[in-house]
Symmetry: none
Subunit: 202 residues, 4 copies
DNA sequence: AATGAATGAGCTTTCATTCAT
DNA sequence: TATGAATGAAAGCTCATTCAT
């Protein structure tokens, strides 16, 4: 039993100082940039001592990379969750597209984080590539399958992948800048239509 | 008289030292980031004293913005130079597209600079927008004209602009990462084909 | 009952962990210095938790002093063990000298520890003096006896003690730097000859 | 002309912030140890900003080494200055010995600095050796000359050098601990007598 | 007795900027 | 214009020590 004077609020095992640090780092890195965010400010806003931050993440860079890998995993999980068997290739593509857009709308800060850092020299190239490939590898397969079926144009695969990525980033930018349009079927359909028309065979 | 793409920028006398500082800042900002580059290192590599840098640019931010505006102007000039009257709308679009790609291939460092900073909080939003709009305004007109002529799909204009930008960034990334393909007609044509197919009316 | 060279030291139960900490501290303090060695690194290399170190030694300084006193005791014991009754004063002196050199050769790390810390402000002056005097007091008696017998020169006693100490440190440095000479009778005899010639009456 | 209100005290070209830093570092390193002395405290007591210290010495280690080499040079100069031609070998040796003792008495802090750091791992081994050899090389020649002349015992030269060094350190310790005895001929003579008797041939 | 996450003061070093020359 | 020594606030990181388990 807890009274007003001894609430059990503080009693939950604060194992998640680590999580608090990650959460705070995400929002500060996005709003102020990596170098613009001091480790002291992260610790303070996360409600922990500076030493605690370095207890969990030996350097600021490691903190950044942990954040990156964590979010990338969340994104990958979200896409995988929504994949349904059955349906034709275009439907599959749309499902994937809309799931990805949904995730970015539901997690705008994380999407901004990706946009800012997935191509920045802040994160070791190896980690970036690994993260990108695990997602894009999936898309590459889908494109190649579509080309065999005569549904997708025969342009160089690397160029097409880069193009997909660019269109995806553009769409998320649009919906994050205009949040009220994220649930508008007209705009959502338009974003996929542009994407699909670029790829499809004439 | 100033045109849309070449607004009047105060022409400071481009002394050797001033230009050396700008050139060095460009390459260091791209390779090490804004915060990762000290004013001391810029001055040293440019062969001037630290005081000299601050004589020409009162703050590091002003140096950055001067760089941004200078390069943006160069890019705009390059596009304008290649615009030819006559021809149909698709030819106009392709001319513009290929000129822009050409510039990015000829100036990879400057393109990387754009990619890193044109969306970063490093540069005042007003300056970024001004720079972007002076280019994109041009594209917007072209798209609207195409829609009236029934050549371009009727999707929301802001979405289409964002999409154009995204596809352009993707294409330049591709050609900068694969420099040997920049002169290959097959790949160059493919890059425009993807772009145009996305936009055109069915 | 306690003798001059083995005063009663509280015998804390030398658990495995406590000894592991002392051993590790010795080697790290010698190789990296007192301030260059973190308590965390001692604990880690000793295979215990940081808290355990502070369970046995309330502060880092206390750990250092425990180490100092422990080693000093070992040294004193080694000297005492080899003292034989009978023989003349010079033989006594040589016995003492060679025992001390033997110990330093057998325990080079501990000797280095003495060399680094027996005169450093790291260890409270009182503890240093106590440790030094318990050894040097013994030497002082020997010198005074020699002077009475006309075997040793009549220089100021404090100067002679300092000189003995200095020559001893020099000899151990020599044998630790040249371990292969430690068993060479020629060099061992030479080291005592220098020492004795300095002291003896003409 | 300077008045009370505008003394020219502050007008000497303060190029010697560098020297002020070295002087302050010397006294603090000796009294508090290298690690016990913060760069901030050196700068503050020297009357300069922290940045200034790092302007002159890129790291704390470099400051330490600069100090070491500077003082070593001073010591070498002092010895060389007092060397007089003529006289026999023993007189030469005494001259050298007394000059060295004089220097240590005149510069007790610098001598303490040597005592603390000339054998510490704080200073790179190469620098330490270089410094030691330039002095000891001189002594080595003198010893070998004396051996040829039959004035000095034939013990291993390295052992003798180490012994000389040890006796010198002991003597300076004695005179620095007992400053009033530094000018006492009796004690000064005794210190050399001990030294010389150790070396001389029987 | 033993653990190790948490603490926060303190450290060395960096760097944009100033100013006397 | 040009210089570079000087500044000092602020940064990332360390570490002896505590304490709940």
């Amino acid at each position: 039993m807890t009274t007003l004077l001894s609430p059990n609020v503080e009693h939950k095992p604060m194992t998640d100082k680590r999580q608090a640090i990650l959460d705070t780092a995400l929002s500060l890195f996005v709003s102020q940039g990596f170098h613009g965010t001091s480790t002291a400010s992260i610790a303070k806003q996360a409600g922990v001592a500076t030493g605690t931050l370095f207890h969990h993440f030996p350097t600021k860079e490691v903190l950044m990379e942990s954040l990156f890998l964590t979010i990338k995993q969340e994104f990958a999980n979200a896409l995988l969750l929504n994949i349904k068997e059955g349906g034709d290739l275009k439907e599959h593509a749309e499902q994937l597209w809309q799931s990805a857009i949904d995730w970015s709308i539901d997690n705008p800060i994380k999407q901004l984080f990706f946009q800012q850092y997935s191509m920045s020299p802040m994160i070791a190239a190896s980690i970036r590539e690994q993260a990108m490939n695990s997602i894009l590898g999936f898309i590459a397969q889908l494109i190649q399958k579509g080309q065999l079926m005569g549904l997708i144009s025969h342009y160089p695969i690397e160029l097409m992948l880069e193009n997909c990525h660019g269109q995806y980033l553009a769409a998320t930018r649009y919906f994050i800048d205009n949040p009220e349009l994220g649930k508008d079927k007209h705009h959502r359909d338009a974003s996929f239509a542009l994407f699909w028309k670029a790829l499809r065979a004439d």
